[in-house]
């Protein structure tokens, strides 16, 4: 097992961990955190797999991840302002349970 594989597996771990949280946690801020960590997991897989040879790593995934980081922060800002809007309208920041839905 190489460093690249180790970090790629860590990325998959992060992705699954965060996806589980995204499903089970009710608070919206927690869901936004979970989506961000899922994204970091995907980035980690991409960058780790770019470094599978001993030479300079593949620059294309690097460029994609830089783009991804900037898109992630703008999506996070949009999600947060949606959460705040919901919060001012309903005084809640959680999604209702299925039973109530």
């Amino acid at each position: 097992m190489t460093t690249a594989i180790l970090y790629a597996l860590t990325g998959i771990g992060l992705f699954s961990l965060a996806l589980y949280s995204l499903i089970v946690q009710a608070h919206l801020l927690r869901k936004i955190l979970a989506i961000n960590i899922m994204g970091s997991g995907v980035f980690l897989v991409l960058i780790a797999l770019a470094k599978r040879s001993d030479e300079i790593p593949d620059p294309v995934p690097h460029a994609m991840v830089i783009t991804g980081i900037v898109v992630a922060v703008s999506a996070t800002a949009l999600a947060l302002s949606m959460m705040l809007k919901l919060n001012t309208e309903t005084h809640h920041a959680e999604l209702p349970d299925d039973q109530q839905g």
Binding site: Y7, S16, L33, I37, I56, V70, V73, D97
Partner: protein
Amino acid sequence: METISLLTWSLDGLLGLSLLWLAWRALTTPDLFKAVVLFIAFGLLITLVWVRLDAPDVALAEAAIGAGLTGALLLSALSRLDSTNSDPAPVNSGEAPVNQKPGRFESIHWWPFLSLVLVSAGLGSVILSMPAAFSGLSPEVNAQLTNSGVENPVTAVLLNFRAYDTLLEMVVLLIALLGVWSLGGGVKHKEPFPGTVLDILTRLLTPVLILVSAYLLWVGAHAPGGAFQAGSVLGAAGVLLMLSGWQLQMNIPVLLIRLILLAGPFAFIAMAAITMMIEGQLLQYPTAHAGLLILLLETLATLSIGATLAALFLGGQTWKNDEESL
């Protein structure tokens, strides 16, 4: 040699485990403030991982955005959430106490848990089945690097070979900002007077941040750096200014702000149209002027990214008064 490889192995293992641990704590700790702080720590640690994986460009972007700006956004949203959510009793209060202290295993939702274990196992086996040594597209990139106008392969990919990705990304940033603006934002959040220390620090730091941003922009042509890193440092300078009570709407006309926000995407679209007419290909620069054109595009993109990120932090409650006066 043996001890060095053992050392790097334990370092990598430790970093990976700490990432997983921080992510888990950030997602499960009951206190939201603590969760956000743990998430910022996660961002800083993953920056170290990018450096370990020879991705200094990504590390710079992550340090400025993933750990810096996202953290500031989350903390600011959290503080606004608390101020409006003064009534902590939820509607489903009949249910809440039951869920408060579940047993260690009763709290696991088995279906998502088991299916995600399966998904992870599948993804893991895909990773393990991939060829161990593979150089991807780097031979192609290196072969064309002399034609790209820059020497840093990542900048060459971002601004030349796959410049249309960057074009679309500028549009995504703009759309996100439009979304935030049209939501109108929640409460007006007033920063208290920052105090002398923060005030003086901001005055000292802002010129330095602008200088660092310009340096990152310039150096991106041949070393790690570039428009995104420079733009996020600029955005961080804007956030710092706003945190110390700088009033945007009083100092700068709205039209100028909008022009800066639009400069990046419009420059890209104009460049795409012009190169389409001259070279016949979208964003295919003439080789002799590629470096100059990339620098021009990057400068405008940096300004737009910085302004957009700062405006995203400011949120939806901006410029209402100015719009009425326009």
